[in-house]
Every structure is written in structure tokens, then in C-alpha cells.
Amino acid sequence: MPDSDLGQLGDGLLFVAVIVYTMAMLGFAGEQASRRARRQLVSAGGSSAEGTVLERTVTLTESPSRAGRFALALTGCGWLVHVISLMTRGFAADRVPWGNMYEFSSAVALVAVTAFLVLVIRGKVERSLGAFVMLPVVLYLGLAATLLYTEAGPLVPALNSYWIKIHVAAAIIASGAFLLSGVVAVLYLIRSRYDEKQSAGAELRFPVTLGPQLPSALVLDRVSYSVIAFAFPIWTFAVIAGAIWAEAAWGRYWGWDPKETWSFITWVLYAGYLHARSTAGWKGRKAAWVAVAAAVALIIDYYVVNIFVVGLHSYA
């Protein structure tokens, strides 16, 4: 039976995780800000008072890496607290910790952070990307905790099946990775626009001005692709597992329920992305837009369908 004290502990831990993530985000942002300052100082150094500028540059080269490393360590700590928070929720309700939208969102954010940490540790991407990844994660968790909050409790009968472990776990892993790839695709669009404007000598406006802080367009494109290539088979599996479950629970494996329809749309768009990326005339920015559209479809699939559209998945 649900244990409300334990459930509250889980909520408290999630709050701590969000605070730690926010601090990590500020750390990453600090690293970038000082790096930008250094860049400006170095570029200004040629013309103005050389002595002072050089002195300050020397002190600045020390701090960014320390701020960044600290931010990365904070992300790791936040991740650990986040994991414990989810486990506590699971113990509190005596079931898998993804029985409602609040818990699902928390788990999706956890997957996104995990994927980011893995990418950084494996050297696929610079950790400075952290500021841009942690911002949506913090916002997402904040929204989930305030708007979707549900107390730890038992499941409705339709959800009471071992398929909830398989189908929903796969959906969470794929969604977390897809949302991360969506953020990276947006950053790619910003960076490639920046490169384009820069070479044309055009005036820069926000958000294109973020360009220099971002990894190269090549790296962003590659990261976005590899994350989607990782998540796509998992999403495919999640949809199929859902169909097998639906066959057992509702008497048909596919019935164009709004949730099924939107996961189909999401699947088709990601399949389109994978093809577009290797097709002449679609490579680059167009493919990135497809990845963004697919991430939007994913968000509709989960949030808009659950909250605004009546269907069989309307319980969570």
C-alpha cells in the first residue's frame, strides 16, 4: 500500500535534484560567459592597453575549466539524487516509478541527463553544451512538478500488467533521448545559421548570437543523429510492445486511439529524419527541422493527448 511519507521524501529529493541541476546550469553558463569574455579580451588585446589585458586573460584561463568541471560534478550529483528520488517514489507506491504523468516526466528528464552525461564522458560532445541541455531539463522538471503533480498511489486496472515495465520503460528511454536530440537539433539550427550569417557578414540577432558558444555544426549534427539512431529502435520497440499490450488489454493491437496515432506520427517523422539525413537536398538544416518537428510530435503525443484529447490513454 502507498506510503505517503516515502512519497514525500521522493518529491523532496526531486526538488533537491532540480536545485542542483540549476546550479550546474549556472556553472556551465559561467564557464561560457568567462570564455566569451576572454575571447573578447584577446581580440581587443591587439589595439588597446596590452599589459593589463594580458594579465586578466591569464587569470581567466584558469577559472572556466574549473567552473565547468564543477558544473559537471554537480550534474552528476543531481543525477544521483534524481535516481534516488525516482526509486523512492517507486517504493512508496510499491510499483514501477512511472505510473502517472508526473513520474513519467521525471523519468524522461533523467534519461535525457543520463544521455548527456554519457555523451560528455565518452567525449562525443563538449561539456559546455551543459548550459543549453540543463535549461530545458530544469524547466521541464519544474513544470512537471507543479502542473502534473500526483501523489504516489496504486495503478488503475488497465495499467496493471507486466507490460507497464516493458512498454513504458522503452517509451521513457526513447523519449528522453529524443527530447535531448530535439534540443541538440535546435542548437544545430542556431549554429548553422550563425555560420551562414557570419560568412555573409550579416547582422546577428538573438538566438543566432549564441552561435559562438556552441560546438561546431558538424558535431551537433553528428550528436543529434547518433542520439536519434540510438532511440529510434527503442521507440519502435515501445510502440510494438504497446500494441502487444493493447491486444491483451483492449482486444486489438492497433485502433488509432489518439495516443497511438501520435506515436505513429512521431515514428514516421523520425524515420523520415533518418532517411532525410542521407538524401541529397534534405541533409543539414532541413533534416534538423524534421528532428525538431518529430520532437514536437512526441511532446504532443504525451502531453497534449493526455490532457486535452479524450482517448484510452487518458488515465495517466
Binding site: I240, I244, A248, G251, F264, L269, G272, A276, G281
Partner: protein, 515 residues
């Protein structure tokens, strides 16, 4: 070791060769041109996106097959937009002609692409790795070293190093390739999509779904006529229904203190003709399967036991009246029709409330779906039920146009055992409560094929995304009196980074003098 990009290398690419255009015949020219356009990747991509866009209205608008009532409401609420959308099949997107046109074109395009690619891949599987390119140094990764060993020894050592690769030695050269499973997986994935579509089509044409409401103690047989609602496939034959019958012995639902449903159990007995009945615990997520026919528990509700007597105390009706739940607390609407009275026909309309609460205005409501404090609240009418008009009537609705309300239509709340006194001396007694369950019987002969196709989809996808196709070439240059020079180069279409690490490792092992 060098890493560089060169467009001239495209012809050595591990990507499957593009399908060569067929020579244009005089008359077939435009047809062939159209076919090539349809099977091109660009068209396929456009069709794919079109498919996604075309599904969007199905994801937002109510769909007739799922919820006809909400479609009706939507059309009533939007008198101008509704009929227009209806004409465009927006309420049955997934069975509309235009949606079918998109996916059929997409699948034709897919098959058109799949057939030549399968042929090419089968040829590639039988053929040997390609010849060594002239300048290995121009490949994305390459290496060059010198050794004192003789050329044959070197090449044999290299061939040994490349175990797991398909290798071929041509004179002083060695070609190696691996990762053929990538294209195999890719083809299996796309082929499985076609199989899935076929599986779905088989279900849509030959499948059957019927639903039936059964009160405790009653049952049904798996024949078309006995269902309340049927959805047969387009070429379904009634003879293919699996013969069995089922009786609902007991239905139980449990709820938490705050009225959340915890479990639903239907205790049933089923039997094949002439066999002994078998018990089964039919639950949500736990359907009953009999020879390919699956029976599901899809709904439940309450059926008050009603006994109607005439003025002489003679029982003229004694049955369970299924009431339809209207909200999550199971406030349910009931209709009772009594055509066989001695005088005027009688009709009752009312609500059944499992946990009855009464508000300040005397209106009844239900506080919980559990059967804690049941009441049957009825208003009575007398006159003509209109059953002889020839227009089919639902048992769940009462047409009062030819009837007059009894007692000014005032509703009376009956507790179990209480009676409603009828004008002229008769009575209606609410004797007790039974539960009912709705069952759905589904036969889908395409289901197994769809499942097999799904396994192929995931398996093929994993192979095509995880396996990397790559090639390595080695050439030995020897001149009498001088040391042997070895050149090696490699090429991979995907994940160049990982390949360059792999190539470096291979090169180190090929260089090492130890076998």
C-alpha cells in the same frame, strides 16, 4: 596515417550502388520515367511526411470508429465546419480513400526500391570484395610501412589479422570487407513493413469483432446474431467464427476508499459444443483464448432486478435491467418498458446510483462506483411505447411522444425491496442488484503475421543501425634487394571516427612481426 575526404572516392563507397536507369523504350518512356520518380528517395520522403501530416487530423478530431458519439457532438457544435470535415472523411481518416492513397503509393514506392536493392545485395553477398584502388593514400584512412618479410608472408599475416572479414587475395593485393548484415538488416526492416501491412489487411478483410452485454447468470454463444454490436471484416464469412459459448457466473470489482478501481474479475464458464464447461478468470489484461478467438472483458455496470406485478398481484415481468454508466461514479441511466400490461403500456426512465447521495434540492447522485448504498430512482409514463410503429428502438431509450407522465413525472427513489405503486393497483419492485459485463470477441487471422513482421522490423532496424559496413585494402610493393613496402587503406560510410580507431588497431596488428 592520414584522414581526408575525397569526392572521387564515392565510387568505392560501401553504399549500395544506385539503381541504373533502364533504357527508355519508345512507348514505355513516360511510364518508366514516372516509375523512377515514384521509387526515388525524394518522392518516398515526401510521401512519408505526407503520411505524418495526413494522420494529424486523426490525432485531434474525434474518430467515428472509436467514438461515434463524440463525432456527433462535434458536428452539432460546429454546424458549418462539421459537415465539411465529414465530407473530407476527417472523422474516419484512417479508412479514408486519400489516406489509403498515400500509404499505398508509399508502399509501392518502397517495393519498387526494395526489389532492385535486394537483387543488388544478393549479388554483393556472392561477390568478392572490390579491387584495391590505385592510390591508397587518398582513402579517408591509410597507412604505409616497411618490413623485411617477403610479400607472401606479409599478405598471409594481414589476411589472418582480418579474421571475420570477407577477404580475397589478388596477386600482391588483399581486399577485405565486412558488415554485409547492415544492408541485410535494412532490407529485412523494409520488407517487414510490407509484411506488417499485409497482416493488417488480412485482419481488416477476414477479421471479426463483436461485443455483447451479459448480466450475471446469463451468457452468449459466438454467433453473429447474438452480439449487440458487430464489426465484421470486408470479406468475413460467418462460418469462420469459432463455435463456443460462455456464461458469466459472477462479476466482481474492487475499489479503493476514494473510489479508484483496483481490480475487475469476471468469473466465467466456457464450453465448446458438446464439451463440459471450463472455468476461467477473465480479467483486464487477461483475455480468454479459444482456438484463435479471444474474449476480452471491456466494460461493466449494474443491472437492478425488477419485478412488475399487475393489480391482481400477478407477476407480469421479472428481469434484470442493465443500466448504462454515465460517469466514473457509475451514476447509470435505466429504461424499463412494459408492453404486456392489461391496460395502457408502461415505461420507466430513471437512474441507478450504487452509492446514493441526495443533494439539497433532492437530486440523487452517486458518491462511489462501489455498491454501498444502491437506489433506483424512476419516473413513470403510461400510453403507447411506440413498439408497433415499425421503427426499430433501442432498449436503452424511451420514446415518450405517445405517453403521459404518471404523478406529473415525479421521480421516486427506491431502495432494495421497495416498490413503485402504479395507477390502478399494480407495482414495480426493485428487488436487488446484479452486475453486468461487456465482452468483446475478436478473431484476427492477420495477427500472427503482424507479430512476425514486428519482430523483423525491430531486428532489421537494429542490424541496419548497429552494423557498419567497411572495407580495407592492402597492397605489397617489393623490389629485389630492398625492403618490402606495405600500403593499407580503409573506407567506411558511417561512423568514420570509430572506423579510424578500428583501422589504426588493425594496422598495428598487421605491422607487428609476430603472427
Amino acid at each position: 596515417m592520414t584522414v581526408q575526404e575525397d569526392p572521387a572516392l564515392a565510387q568505392l563507397s560501401t553504399q549500395p550502388e544506385p539503381v541504373r536507369p533502364v533504357r527508355r523504350g519508345e512507348l514505355l518512356g513516360p511510364l518508366r520515367y514516372g516509375w523512377r520518380q515514384l521509387t526515388s528517395m525524394r518522392t518516398a520522403l515526401l510521401l512519408l511526411f505526407l503520411l505524418a501530416v495526413a494522420s494529424i487530423p486523426g490525432g485531434f478530431l474525434p474518430q467515428r470508429r472509436i467514438n461515434p458519439l463524440r463525432v456527433q457532438e462535434f458536428v452539432q457544435e460546429h454546424p458549418r465546419l462539421g459537415p465539411l470535415l465529414d465530407r473530407l472523411s476527417m472523422f474516419e481518416v484512417f479508412s479514408s480513400t486519400w489516406f489509403a492513397a498515400i500509404y499505398l503509393l508509399l508502399f509501392i514506392s518502397l517495393v519498387g526500391c526494395l526489389v532492385p536493392r535486394t537483387r543488388l545485395h544478393l549479388r554483393a553477398l556472392r561477390s568478392t570484395p572490390p579491387q584495391v584502388p590505385r592510390t591508397l593514400a587518398r582513402l579517408p584512412v591509410s597507412d604505409r610501412w616497411q618490413t623485411t618479410r617477403d610479400p607472401d608472408e606479409v599478405l598471409a599475416h594481414c589476411q589472418q589479422t582480418l579474421s571475420g572479414w570477407r577477404t580475397v587475395r589478388r596477386d600482391q593485393e588483399l581486399s577485405a570487407e565486412r558488415g554485409y548484415l547492415r544492408e541485410t538488416g535494412n532490407l529485412v526492416f523494409h520488407l517487414s513493413l510490407v509484411l506488417l501491412l499485409i497482416g493488417i489487411a488480412v485482419g481488416a478483410f477476414r477479421g471479426f469483432t463483436g461485443t455483447v452485454l451479459v448480466v450475471e447468470g446469463r451468457g452468449f454463444a459466438n454467433t453473429v446474431a447474438l452480439f449487440d454490436d458487430v464489426q465484421p471484416g470486408r470479406s468475413f464469412s460467418p462460418g469462420s467464427l469459432v463455435p463456443f459459448s460462455l456464461t458469466l457466473k459472477d462479476f466482481r470489482a474492487t475499489y479503493s476508499a476514494d473510489g479508484k478501481a483496483l481490480t475487475f474479475n469476471a468469473d466465467v464458464a466456457w464450453q465448446r459444443p458438446g464439451m463440459t464447461p471450463q472455468p476461467y478468470d477473465l480479467r483486464v489484461n487477461h483475455p480468454l483464448e479459444i482456438d484463435g478467438a479471444k474474449t476480452y472483458l471491456i466494460g461493466h455496470g449494474y443491472a437492478p432486478h425488477v419485478v412488475v406485478k399487475d393489480r391482481d398481484g400477478q407477476v407480469i415481468d421479472d428481469r434484470f435491467v442493465p443500466c448504462l454508466p454515465q460517469n466514473s461514479q457509475f451514476l447509470s441511466t435505466c429504461v424499463i418498458k412494459e408492453p404486456f400490461t392489461s391496460g395502457k403500456q408502461l415505461g420507466f426512465r430513471g437512474v441507478f446510483t450504487p452509492t446514493t447521495v441526495t443533494d439539497a434540492d433532492g437530486r440523487v447522485g452517486s458518491a462511489s462506483p462501489a455498491l454501498l448504498n444502491p437506489a433506483l430512482t424512476l419516473a413513470a409514463f403510461e400510453g403507447d411505447l411506440g413498439l408497433d410503429s415499425g421503427v426499430p428502438q433501442s432498449v436503452y431509450s424511451l420514446d415518450t411522444s405517445l405517453m403521459t407522465p404518471i404523478d406529473q413525472g415525479r421521480a421516486q427513489a427506491l431502495l432494495p425491496g421497495q416498490s413503485f405503486a402504479l395507477p390502478g393497483g399494480g407495482s414495480l419492485t426493485y428487488a436487488g442488484t446484479a452486475e453486468w459485463a461487456t465482452f468483446q470477441v475478436t478473431q484476427d487471422p492477420g495477427k500472427l503475421l503482424a507479430l512476425v513482421a514486428s519482430v523483423g522490423i525491430v531486428g532489421g532496424l537494429l542490424l541496419s543501425l548497429l552494423v557498419r559496413r567497411r572495407r580495407v585494402w592492402v597492397r605489397v610493393l617489393s623490389a629485389p634487394g630492398s625492403p618490402t613496402t606495405v600500403e593499407a587503406g580503409g573506407l567506411a560510410r558511417t561512423d568514420a571516427e570509430r572506423f579510424s580507431t578500428e583501422f589504426a588497431e588493425l594496422a598495428t596488428r598487421m605491422r607487428s612481426e609476430r603472427a
